[in-house]
Symmetry: C2
Subunit: 369 residues, 2 copies
């Protein structure tokens, strides 16, 4: 039964059972333990389970005894999630069961196909992760300010939904609600497609001479950063959302074919228009991505400040910006080998740009607008 805080949000009382103690499962355990919620853990790997217990993510599931958990969190790999959810609903007949896999429709469909009663089940997806994996990388704050999508089915009962909402809320996440179909379509586009494009690009770099790569700039680094992701996990994610990803890729292939045709005969009539259209359509799509604050897309103004490339300079710069009273929205560092100068690129609200350039210049900083 969920308690309610003064501002209407439920809080978990527990006990909570976490099945699967990888990065996410152990992080959930840690976060809930930090709020005083009793947590019990289980993992097919005795080592993983022992590490999770050691870092304080919860106690071994054996110690739960006959007490009924309020909530069971299935934090298993996507390809065994349906099995584990079905088992949990059977073994804990009064508990709410949620899973946290990155794809939602395949799991819901599989459970339905097996005739499982879904009234106590909520599919969820916390959109958080790290470069590292396993319970040693776990941290209780992993979900702070990150989206956590709830995907109740038509059969999900209101108490189950409220319990899932409490879990995400207790861990500091930003809760939103999508149908499983909407979720899978959205992540196919905003998460799975970027992964595919980044991997396709990065794999082209395998045979390149290193002196060519020495010309790499921030553009290449940005586009390929997520190409460093874990193959095992992504096989399951892409496999589990294959239908929706492949539909988007048909569109990409059509555009790619058109582009190849254009570049094979770049002097043909219409070729320039075709190229301009590709880049313009990219402009239009990129402009629709919401700003970091989750608000509507906002074009920040950027300025660049040259600083000596040694500790303390950037701190001094930001201290002075704080004194000037301007909030920095984003910040990038850039410095190259053999140079004693670094560049700090700052983005601020457009109406603060000129003020900041002037104030910093007055204080002796070398500012490039």
């Amino acid at each position: 039964m969920a308690a309610f805080s003064s501002h209407g949000r439920g809080h978990l009382n527990g006990p909570v059972v976490v099945l699967g103690t990888g990065l996410l499962g152990a992080s959930i355990g840690l976060g809930l333990r930090g709020r005083g919620v009793p947590v019990y853990l289980s993992d097919p790997s005795p080592t993983n389970q022992a590490v999770a217990v050691d870092i304080g993510a919860g106690r071994p599931l054996d110690e739960l005894g006959s007490e009924q958990p309020q909530l069971v969190v299935v934090a298993a790999p996507p390809d065994v999630t349906a099995d584990v959810v079905e088992g949990a609903l059977r073994n804990y007949p009064s508990a709410v069961v949620v899973d946290i896999a990155s794809v939602k429709l395949a799991i819901q469909s599989e459970l339905r196909k097996r005739g499982v009663d879904l009234s106590r089940y909520v599919g969820t997806h916390p959109m958080a992760g790290r470069e590292k994996s396993g319970p040693v990388a776990a941290r209780g704050e992993l979900f702070t300010s990150m989206p956590w999508v709830l995907c109740p089915s038509e059969d999900t009962g209101p108490e189950a939904l409220q319990t899932a909402r409490s879990l995400a809320g207790d861990l500091g996440a930003l809760v939103s609600q999508f149908s499983a179909e909407e979720h899978d379509e959205a992540v196919a586009l905003v998460s799975h497609l970027p992964q595919v494009m980044s991997s396709l690009l990065a794999s082209r770099l395998q045979g390149t001479p290193l002196n060519a790569l020495s010309l790499a700039g921030n553009g290449l680094r940005d586009v390929t950063r997520i190409a460093a992701s874990d193959p095992t996990l992504w096989v399951q994610i892409l496999g589990g959302n294959a239908d929706r990803v492949v539909k988007i890729l048909y569109g990409v292939r059509e555009d790619l074919d058109r582009l190849i045709g254009t570049l094979e005969d770049p002097l043909a009539p219409g070729a320039r228009l075709d190229l301009a259209q590709l880049i313009s359509e990219g402009n239009a799509g990129q402009a629709r991505i919401p700003g970091k604050h989750g608000g509507p897309p906002q074009a920040y103004s950027w300025l660049t400040v040259l600083v000596d490339d040694k500790p303390g300079q950037i701190a001094r710069l930001l201290t002075e910006i704080g004194e000037i009273g301007v909030n920095v929205e984003d910040l990038r560092l850039d410095h190259s080998s053999g140079q004693n100068v670094g560049m700090v690129e700052l983005s601020v609200l457009p109406n603060k740009h000129d003020l900041l350039v002037e104030a910093l210049s007055d204080r002796g900083w070398r500012v490039l607008q």
Copy 2:
């Protein structure tokens, strides 16, 4: 005739003529004027030329009189560069002529085809730019610490090459030398391919519901950042390097076709292996990109610090990191709507990671390793 500094680098004496006063031409003028080199400017657009003169990038070309320039910098759009280079070599019979277009082989071949003597010509490519364009966006430090590639032909004389080297060096760039073919192949991969992949991805976002885009994370933002680039410029770049870009795109299409085939039947034997291979090959390619300092690829260690989302917090954090004596290699900010907490992700040399985590935790910061 070039003077030589004590460490063997030449410096320009001028006069330097800059033909084309867009962002790059005006920035070159500004940078050279800042070193006391006399600069004369010309642009087909009287407005552009007047703005460039007004910001101090040089004097109008009319005022050069009969004096012979030491160097002519052709900063025209790529598709008219060969014409302007040919004219400059003819009009200034003792000057070195360089261009700064982003593609090199097409221009060199065109000049050769016309029978132009290339002994005083050097194709170059300063790899610097901004989101903004035009002379108002110009800044003399634009080239500081950025790569500047020199692509002499077999016919380029040693004095011409030395003068081009002096130009790049005087402007603070990191000079390297490639053949035109090597250059165009390298930028097809490290610059033009990322642009194409980013634009292809971003154009898929055009029709998406905004609530799907609300799930966008840093992955999508990173991969699509350069999709905001200028269509007019990119039409000329892609058109001018079509042969080499299209060859790389054949490889991308092959991989994409294989991926589509796999996702159309994700339960087929071998499907999982195919998907794992795509991601693994991306891992391998990504790992070859050199670090920001131009050194060998280096895996920095990341840590995350939670800070209150108000001015001054990040400055205080960086001040304390400076006191601890650790150099920050890269920094990302992340904060979401409705939350009073922001996350600062810092990368440091791996051997400094544990020290910094401990020292910051001791000082009361909330650190997530």
